[in-house]
Amino acid sequence: MNPGAIVLEARGISRAFPGVQALAGVDLTLRAGEVHALMGQNGAGKSTLIKVLTGLCAPDAGTIKLLNSEVSLHSPQQAQRLGISAVHQESHLLPNLSVAENICAGRYPRRKWLGGIDWPETRRRARELLGRLGIDVDVTQLAGGLSAAVQQLATVARAVAGDARVLILDEPTSSLDADEVQALFRLIRTLRDQGVAILFVTHFLDQVYEVCDRITVLRNGRLVGEYACGKLDARGLVAAMVGRELVEAHKPATHAPAADETPAVLAARGLARRGALEAMDVEMKAGEVLGLAGLLGSGRTELARLLFALDRRDGGEILIDDRAVRLEEPADALRLGLAFCPEDRKQDGIVAELSVRENIVLALQARSGLWKFLARAEQRALADRMVAALGIKTAGIESPIGQLSGGNQQKAIIARWLATQPRVLILDEPTRGVDVAAKQELMAEVLKLAAAGTAVLFISAEIEEVVRVSDRILVLRDRAKAGELPGDAGEDAVYSLIAGGMTAGDA
């Protein structure tokens, strides 16, 4: 396969769903030996295009040519047989089967004798494949026991095990830390050098420039253009995705962080959970944005869940306004004026069948209790207000929230918590999977809240983001507190705090 030869050519792809035209006349060209980035905001059509290319969804119009012959993809199995492999965002291994089995499932080596599965050969093949990719894992272990990051790498290994010509990676780095991202990139470069055409979907601009050769940008279901990485800088890329220049949100100069003497609204002493978090003290003050920074696995989400009583704590106590309180389940936290926007909005956030209105009023109603039912008119008014304030794009407040795009669902969840007028707002990765423009809107909203007196806990994997908006930064390392920094400390200070304590022997 000559590098640069066209492997896959999609022309004029269109697809509509009830109420929305997801794709309209989109072209995509993938070449052998190239890493091609697919970028666009939420709702731009990236997921739909992936589904079309992998046979999960049939296009209403358009043609797909694989190695110059037209194909019609109608199932993932068929797509895989043709050489199109994908690692989807929701891809994960089967937790009840071993790693070796996960890798070889569907293509087991057979014993010559009676045709049964050759297990020793299965394990050998898996070991060899993972070894080639530099992934060190016990192949006989059940996949459920692996960390999410290692599962991700194994999923990619499986995807390439079958001589794929086209490899589609849909946001593969969202749960990986820096080292794991580099390991993935090494793998991607190896595959690229072998002549595989790779389609890489991501939100991270710097990753695009690090590993990709070309970029295709979508906006509102249409093709904006295909560019070579060298010919388009980051600002131009963002402009293409959004359609206009952006100004980054910064703390307004007039915003003053809370003075040291301000009493803490929430104080946690010796908060701990076996296997999840070491004992630590946390303080949150009214009107202050407390940023939580740390690498993947450092305990950020675990801390948030403990504060909101989603998980049971094994040690320590939580004080609100200096008084010990009963905080055993989320309903208690809600009553005390806490709010929690979870990391996984599909799993812990939205109730897909309920309407946008019902999702927004849910927490408020939960706090009011069973008997004090909010009148319909009040609910509608509240929902309308929130939709307007946060710019939620929806066909109406009565449409099922499942129909909204990911970013708008995220906004609705935040609206739900804002409706309770919380004293303490915990935001766990509120901008993950949200496009650039919406990100700015959300951050501006958060800063407004802090200015009005709410204590905000802001968690994000993007340390640069944390540093930008926080008044004070709490740094975690390996499930323990590494230290605290003032908001203007800068990224380097955060990184050295995270790295600090590691001797030469640890690396």
Binding site: D60, F308, L310, E329, P330, A331, A333, L334, R335, F340, P342, Q347, D348, G349, I350, V351, A352, E353, L354, E358, L362, A363, Q365, A366, R367, S368, G369, L370, W371, K372, F373, R416
Partner: protein, 341 residues
């Protein structure tokens, strides 16, 4: 017409109407209602009376299914409640030859309902506190419960001769069967709770996404516990009515296959087994459909064995119609070239 057809209660109502029409076609006096012996009389009244216990159990089952649960032990709970009540009333006679009750009637009935409520609570604890799957948790009581009921009755059928015991199953109040009063009252109370309090919203949230509901601050565990407990209580109530109707308690056969009929009634009424949206009115219609079906088969002179086959066909029909994939297939076949569904 299209709007009417899309209403959630359309298909259950249409099915019921169809059944009644078939009955009336073969038996013109079927729909006749008259006043006799101080109460309403007629086939329709009979159907309503016999459907009442199923309605009650199904209403309890609706809420359980709505929170993604299931209770297959209701038949066994019916047997337990009947056994407790009949045991405490006893088949005895007093010195002057009139039938008497060993314990005051209110005590016997109360104890039976208490036993049923405890059964429901037991199921709830297993599901909520022990985190068991609902099918498993209620399977345990379904298997062991009948054994317990047989233990209580000593393996015998207890016949009750005490007339006040018969009121629940065969009595009338203002001309309408007592059992029907109880069923309708229960329905009214639940309907009020579902629409005038946050219960309906909470149940739909829990059924739609239990994790998200919990994060949003809904006390999902408490609600689930209450729902299962109520289901047990409803089964106990139904058990008393059934036992009162047959004037006895048979631990072996009381409530046999009742859980299946109840789940069928709930599904016929439009509540999905996957949880979330639910319809109390639909469940009542579903129970009526099942009872009318039995009556129809009987009145048509068709052998009663056909009942099961027809129920099966009905379940298949309803299930297929509720399936989105099937409706899409139907649309494509009935209107070829109408474009992608």
């Amino acid at each position: 017409m299209r709007r009417l057809a899309q209403h959630a209660l359309f298909w259950p109502s249409a099915t019921l109407a169809l059944l009644l029409l078939v009955n009336a076609a073969f038996n013109p006096s079927f729909l006749a209602i008259s006043w006799r012996d101080g109460h309403l009389y007629g086939n329709l009244i009979d159907i309503l009376n016999r459907a009442a216990p199923l309605m009650i159990v199904s209403l309890g089952m609706t809420l359980v299914i709505a929170i993604r649960g299931l209770d297959i032990s209701v038949g066994a709970v019916v047997a337990i409640a009947a056994a407790v009540a009949a045991l405490l009333v006893g088949g005895g006679f007093s010195a002057d030859g009139t039938a008497a009750s060993e314990y005051p009637l209110w005590f016997a009935l109360g104890a039976a309902l208490l036993a049923a409520t405890v059964c429901g609570l037991w199921n709830g604890v297993l599901v909520v506190k022990a985190g068991m799957q609902p099918i498993v948790a209620t399977l345990i009581l379904m298997v062991a419960g009948r054994g317990v009921a047989q233990l209580l009755t000593g393996g015998q059928i207890i016949t009750v001769y005490y007339p006040p015991y018969y009121v629940l199953g065969s009595g009338f109040l203002l001309g309408v069967p007592v059992a029907l009063w109880i069923a309708v009252l229960l329905w009214a109370v639940l309907q009020w709770l579902a629409t005038r309090t946050a219960l309906g919203l909470f149940i739909r949230a829990i059924g739609g996404n239990p994790d998200a509901a919990r994060v949003a601050g809904v006390r999902a565990a408490d609600i689930a516990l209450c729902v299962y407990t109520f289901c047990g209580l409803a089964a106990g109530l139904a058990g008393l009515i059934i036992s009162s109707n047959v004037k006895s308690a048979d631990a072996n056969s009381a409530g046999q296959l009742l859980e299946l009929d109840a789940i069928l009634a709930v599904t016929l009424g439009g509540t999905a087994l996957t949880g979330g949206r639910f319809s109390l009115a639909g469940t009542v219609l579903g129970a009526l459909i099942i009872q009318t079906l039995t009556a129809t088969i009987y009145s048509l002179g068709v052998p009663p064995e056909v009942n099961l086959v027809v129920k099966a066909a009905l379940v298949f029909a309803v299930m297929l119609l509720q399936s989105a994939e099937f409706r899409a297939l139907l649309k494509r076949t009935l209107r070829p070239g109408a474009g992608a569904a």
